[in-house]
Symmetry: C2
């Protein structure tokens, strides 16, 4: 029986296999606004459970599970937010990233229950299943409430990478930029904030305009940053020094990806640069689990989207005519690939 | 902007919040039998993807995600099992624990999508939702295929703890034992294998008999281990020196838990012991996340079940008349509580 003591343990298999327990507990906590509630200050169990509408049966188990997972702290009978939960999961802070988790809770968690079917058929498993042939974004953009939540979610998960791009790209060489599929505009805003000499454009479908303009105004960069309504897929791209595309390229199939890279090359001013970022997969495809799982999420969510390695993207850029290209890590799972036009 | 570099990072929030991606990828891999397939030896991508029926669109992403998660290894284009996946996720090995994950994939993953409703109502979210008032085990025991899968799943996740109990309890002092809710009988079998002087009984509903007897025979302990059909909830318990209850007590509400502990006390021979084990929660309820999440799983699965701390269980034992009791860690998240009768 000594093989049991010295051999592999089943703990990691069980931990990942039942990892949806911890995941869904956090998603439900975000849905209920627990961290927003506790951002006002520590609360005793009775008051907190009452205000959240938790049934007595499992209220303590739920809150204590969040303690054991490290998202809450508890002293005596008082619960408070852990520092990362307080910063990133309080709806009233600009650093809130819970929008993505709210969306995951309301949509993705259920869609991923059909992962096996997706893997066997190659077909998406989201709302488009009952609306075959529609663009994955048609339903989204048609509903203002869902659109706003989606845009906020995108800002939330992109903010760290956006701040890094605002500093890491050699902006001093350039005067103008445009962010394609800009959504709420956090990347365009962060670039403007960190580089007062730049003039920028945020391009997205017309429905996004008001949300973008509010956000630019709130950040005090409206004078250097304007919204341009347009479809980067079908319409022309702005002629600028730098084009940026964050969490865009992975939505599309190979032909579409190459088309977008070529279109960006054609639109850029001479000497300009294309900055693409996503959860870029490591070239050996053996380390960035998040990027590979994000690619499976593109399977669930889009007709042909997939994530890619830095080498893949550099290859598409070279093929489109870019003189030189490199990949650089940004934040968390995100990296950027930068291509330079002659 | 320096607060971003020095402050908390959103990485852990995103990793746990989207943790269902990794979890569901592993569950789908178990469902498809990937690890059983690769237990025969390494396979090239094309052969493996073809045999598993993976659509080309995301076949590589899926397999490479399992590489990045550490459950597969890849050399050139050949995939093979990581050691823990090979030992615990190959259906043909007795060490297989995938039964629990198959069950999680087919049932629990979807039920947990209703965690928020469970937390607000205190009501289970499994099959019993459409069959109110039924015992949580009625449907299970009525379907031989589901029952067999459930029993194998229970053996799988209990095996490490069962081996520990077979060694850690002071068995030399005792001659007879009975395992209540014995299922396939792995605990009873491991105790018999490690302690040749003992005579044992496995007690469970009559439907379980054939599965238990096959398992005892396969392990060569049929002469010292017999099946006794019975309902530990309603019927009498065997009079033996040691009674064991593994992953049983957490299924029931407080009154039912106390009743079972009292009933065990009454049935035990003088000087006997009661051994209870579960994913016992640490007394401070701030560390064993698995135990607390298991308790939420009891919310999803049962009308009143919950997990408990060592102090809780020792308290119920003392209240029932046990002279002395202690808690001891077994394996993974499991600990046992042992109570001694005068």
């Amino acid at each position: 029986m000594s093989n049991v003591a010295t051999g592999p343990s089943p703990d990691r298999v069980m931990q990942v296999g039942l990892g949806f327990w911890a995941s869904k507990a956090l998603l439900s906590a975000v849905e209920m606004g627990i961290f927003t509630e506790l951002a006002h200050g520590p609360e005793e169990f009775n008051g907190l459970a009452g205000r959240l509408g938790l049934h007595p049966r499992a209220a303590r188990d739920f809150l204590d599970a969040l303690v054991a997972l490290g998202f809450l702290h508890r002293t005596q009978d008082r619960y408070c937010n852990a520092p990362d939960a307080d910063l990133f999961l309080d709806r009233n802070k600009p650093s809130y990233i819970g929008g993505m988790l709210e969306m995951a809770n309301a949509r993705l968690y259920g869609f991923w229950n059909h992962l096996t079917e997706a893997l066997r058929t190659g077909q998406p498993q989201n709302e488009s299943k009952s609306d075959a042939g529609a663009s994955p974004f048609t339903a989204l953009y048609a509903d203002p409430a869902r659109l706003k939540a989606f845009l906020a979610a995108m800002s939330g998960i992109s903010h760290g990478a956006n701040l890094a791009i605002a500093r890491q790209v050699p902006w001093t060489k350039y005067k103008t930029y445009a962010d394609l599929g800009t959504a709420q505009g956090d990347l365009a805003v962060q670039i403007a904030l960190a580089n007062p000499h730049l003039q920028g454009i945020g391009l997205d479908l017309p429905e996004v305009g008001p949300v973008f303009e509010d956000y630019a105004k709130a950040n005090g960069v409206s004078e250097r940053l304007r919204f341009e309504p347009g479809d980067f897929f079908r319409g022309p791209l702005p002629a600028v020094d730098v084009l940026t595309m964050g969490h865009i390229l992975h939505d599309w199939n190979l032909a579409e990806k190459k088309m977008l890279v070529s279109k960006a090359y054609a639109a850029l001013n001479p000497g300009g640069a294309l900055v693409i970022y996503d959860a870029v997969i490591d070239d050996d495809r053996s380390k960035n689990a998040f990027g590979l799982l994000m690619s499976l999420n593109m399977l669930i969510e889009t007709p042909g989207g997939f994530d890619y390695t830095g080498a893949d993207c550099i290859g598409w850029m070279k093929e489109a005519g870019f003189r030189d290209a490199y990949m650089e890590h940004l934040a968390g799972p995100d990296s950027m690939v930068v291509g330079f036009k002659e």
